[in-house]
Symmetry: D2
Subunit: 369 residues, 4 copies
């Protein structure tokens, strides 16, 4: 059975299929009195939309957000918001043709075992990356709430294939980082690397292949003392949310896997006083210790696998005839989803953090004007 | 506020503190009719216990499991099980002395911000690794359920510091793997590497430092078609559970972070027929596609940071005087928790997977004799 | 904050406002392979619609169900269903005019304290009886699932004001009961009482007043052994769901409040053998003992208060001027909502019972053809 | 499967069996900094204990509360509290003897269908009224929290059989009500009726029969604006919690079932100004409109069925031989559980209301000293 609702007090419910009528989300637990900035939601959706850089999926998606409920006289009412985008301009013929031939590293087989052949296979249906538009809409509402508390979430492309941006960015310089990211079609913060990353994507695209990459996400100004040990840890809830994005195969906080080769004396973050407030002199813990925020930036990195849809002929099995077969996936597919996933990572992060703030009573149920 | 309950139909509730009276767990949703193998629970607890190898924490923990409820005439009744171990033989004096001096990369500061100074600081209280004994007890019950379906969970030490075991183990040879792991005090599967890992730990211990490492976990025989897209993915729920273990800072499934440098044509797992059943010729997806099990082994790796408690003098802050200070943590501390965490990773995995099987109706509410 | 999601494995999320764009529901956890009978959903919605009897609210509601997601090639896919009806033909002017004058026994004041004046007040917004259309749509899907297991839910009007139908109906005669209910505009099973009830409603309507009543609900063929003690009782979950219907002020199972005057020797239901299966010779327990179904019909009665909207001038307070005032509620209002609530009670019952069957593994995640 | 956890932010998990080792509860979500008044918990437990009046069950229960976790230096820490009482001095022989003979209106049959014969039948195991000791312990913690906000919960015996106390009590006179209740062994507020009620119980006891009754519960000083429409209503969550008490078969809020015979003009509560604050001139709504508190006292009444255990010979079935049989239940059983259930009703009410206040951010996660 499904599980399409996430969160405790800030609760989102995703619905819709890639080639169905709509993609939608119900957002429950939004405090009353938030001025709903629809333009901002649209801007966020646009960041997820293909066509940002020349090689991304050429399916035209207008993705215009519609508010079905929860907003009255421009403000949220405390009732659940329902936001949708319509699905348009898609072509399901190729999916029809190949529906019995399992696409390698796609969900065709696992979905068949789970849903017994009833799943909507067109455009990967409920497994499509397009479902993340529902996350982005909910994330946009969450971000608007966080902005009232000066909490900023910022993600960017850390690597495409072997082109890796190892620089440590200071989140304080957020404004300049944002504009740099906007100028990069691959959401990189470094213009030289951005070109190399584009080149990398173009190269795999030319051979009808695909490539993976990493996204780094930083949260600034998140207050200390939020989260908890045991099952209330920020790493626990963030990772759960992040893995709900298709194609994510790894997550690490702070130094992450590098910490496994470090000594305690290297990895430990010394406490210091900065203007009479307690900080750490470095942040290898990624802003979370014992599952609780330390007040330092929350930092994590996620691993995105290469797009499973490639034009190269692959070995596989026809599930109807139960014979081995080959498949060559037609149509334009995004050779690298990393740039488009950047805003999705931000969205899931915002959703999780708002839920924490509500549970801790840090956001009231009616916002002050 | 806390959140000490995990799971939907198989629900565990952890309680107790490191230096309090007990560590305990309530396990709800255990089907009636399971012959409760108390010896097995004890054996699992023993694997977590310190003192397995010469350098681990010398606090003597007897950790004898007691069943307070849920078992009648040797079988589970369908009522919640409560299992506890008593805390004995600990010395809290050092914690008293240093309670205002923040230990670097320990939860002292974040806990202070969260719990306002009321938290039980003795032995790190609720943040202690000792809390994972509650996970292990619940995991032992979950494993007994999984064994009825021939599902095996097996974890081992993949690396200690820079000593890395890169071999691909075939889970089919499980019996020999188990005995190899038992012979290794650091839970390695390779006797030569095991010695090097022990050496590595001894070396950091000699200089009162600590070291991290990686644990690999493999689940064999888990049926295909379990899990789901969106918020029901196996990666989502496993990662949430795994990050509830103290000191875990990363998790990756299948090729994980390595997948970010791969092309689709390399990473995609081709479908093949093996004895008329559908498999993949390799398993870079780690047994999960679209959040759903493929029937291939579920494989993931977790990153464990170096123990935060070290004997070396560290810079820090006294939170009472609000002055910078230093701390030298006394007492015997485990220089590397990786070996002891192996069984904890297995336990959390078992707990999550049983919950899935119950939600899918694969385990009945009354077991057949 | 809100809480608009109900259920554990069969999970419904309600959204929309009385005078907003739509009323909608997301239904998660519907097994794949259910042939979605849209006509049946429409028929259920029609039972809730006003205009069934001459005196009910004359707002014209077309309430044509639209399926936005979750159905493909006429079958459910395992993905969440989103069903909506559009709001049309309403007039919000009267609500605008009176928005600061608290309507007695309406939610105006409690909503103001909760949502700080941001709630959509038009047509009572989220508090409107119209919201129950979302329950009815979800209930129609639940009923289709239950029908596969021959489980029938049947509710009817037990009383309107002091006109009370005290007959004990045998659920075995379901077909004849259904047709009797269809012939009665007030959903009574007794044609003589039906006329009196209509008369009663007409009488209060003539004086611009309103009246309450009782609804009795019976579930036949529900298997024994479903539910549980402590927080898993059927009474617990049914009552929670039933009280989410506006205007319900009481619920009793079996003999209910009458049981308080009975002796154990009178109230106890003796076990008997009927065709070698265990039954009780009477059913004062209402089919539930220890929170678990006994296999006898589940029977309960709910109390519906008189409609709060009446045309008679009432004393009240203007919340803006903070002065005492009077209000005369204009427009056509339903003088008795009991008949329309009958199908809503059935819907909530179906939703709760399907959730139980899923949790017990009695309904598979893919239905057989 | 079971479901032994209740609540969202204030979460209680009940465990233990009537004749097992202990009865216990884990209370999660208790803010840090509450001075844990153990004597108060004990006093509450004593109110539930038998032996308060001469005819109640003569099983001696010491029920001494023990704190296993969550309290340090006399204050709650923010970690989950585990409270237990030991089971002592019981005699299970009679249960052994009759274990195949279904006791009428007891859970023997439904439990058998649910748990397949594995349930602990001794003393009704998990279905025993003794389980409510776990509710009372958790309720005592909840009450201590509510007291900080001057919220008082007060329940009393409204009727035993046909002896009914119809007086309307003003909760303002709480102190005098408490002492009157203490003086009454049946928890009545009227000394004349108290005698009649005792007499009534004595009479049924003399003939080895039992009797039911009603409990009324009033909450004073609960702030307006808490709760919500749809699935967040106070009636919904209170009723769910109250029906988790064994033997409860009905609940009504405000006028409840009487409202079904009333006109809107009678039932509607006019808004008035009292010292510039908004109140209603009467409280037929029972302090809740639209699922949200109005600031008037929350009032509800519950129906308690007569004790199922009676000494009179009853017809029944032997489930092993599958033959009709008779049973005469031996031992001393409580002929009326109403007086002992009074404190249990209060406890469940307190637990639900604290959860609401936490969800609304009205109680902080760390209490001020």
């Amino acid at each position: 059975m499904g599980n399409n609702t996430l969160g405790e007090l800030f609760k989102i419910t995703s619905f819709g299929e890639s080639h169905g009528k709509i993609i939608g989300v119900v957002i429950d637990g939004v405090p009353a009195g938030l001025k709903a900035d629809i333009e901002f939601i649209q801007k966020e959706l646009n960041m997820r939309r293909p066509g940002q850089y020349s090689l991304s999926s050429q399916r035209i998606e207008f993705d215009k957000v519609e508010v079905l409920s929860g907003v009255f006289n421009k403000f949220t009412t405390g009732a659940p918001l329902c936001l949708i985008i319509k699905n348009e301009a898609f072509d399901s013929r190729d999916y029809e043709k190949n529906k019995d031939i399992l696409r390698p590293s796609h969900s065709d087989y696992s979905a068949f075992k789970k849903f017994g052949g009833y799943a909507d296979y067109r455009g990967s249906g409920r497994f499509s990356g397009r479902i993340t538009a529902s996350y982005v809409m909910a994330g946009a509402i969450a971000k608007q709430l966080l902005q009232r508390y000066n909490i900023f979430i910022f993600a960017f492309t850390k690597s495409i294939g072997t082109i890796i941006d190892s620089q440590i960015y200071k989140i304080d310089a957020l404004q300049s980082l944002i504009s740099r990211r906007e100028q990069s079609p691959v959401r990189s913060l470094n213009s030289a690397l951005s070109k190399q990353m584009e080149e990398q994507i173009k190269k795999v695209n030319d051979i009808q292949d695909s490539i993976g990459g990493q996204i780094k996400c930083i949260v600034s100004n998140f207050p200390p003392g939020i989260g908890g040990p045991v099952f209330n840890g920020i790493e626990s809830n963030l990772s759960k949310a992040i893995f709900s994005i298709p194609s994510i195969k790894g997550i690490e906080f702070g130094k992450g896997f590098k910490a496994t080769e470090m000594k305690g004396s290297e990895h430990n973050d010394p406490w210091i006083l900065v203007n009479e407030s307690i900080k750490t002199s470095k942040n290898d813990s990624g802003g979370i210790i014992g599952g609780i925020s330390t007040g330092m930036p929350i930092e994590f990195t996620v691993a995105v696998k290469p797009t499973a849809s490639i034009g190269i002929t692959q070995k596989t099995v026809n599930i109807k005839s139960m014979k081995e077969d080959t498949i060559k996936i037609e149509g334009k597919h995004d050779p690298c989803i990393v740039p488009r996933a950047v805003v999705v990572v931000e969205a899931m992060t915002a959703i999780v953090l708002v839920d924490y703030l509500l549970k801790e009573g840090k956001i009231p149920s009616v916002l002050s004007a």
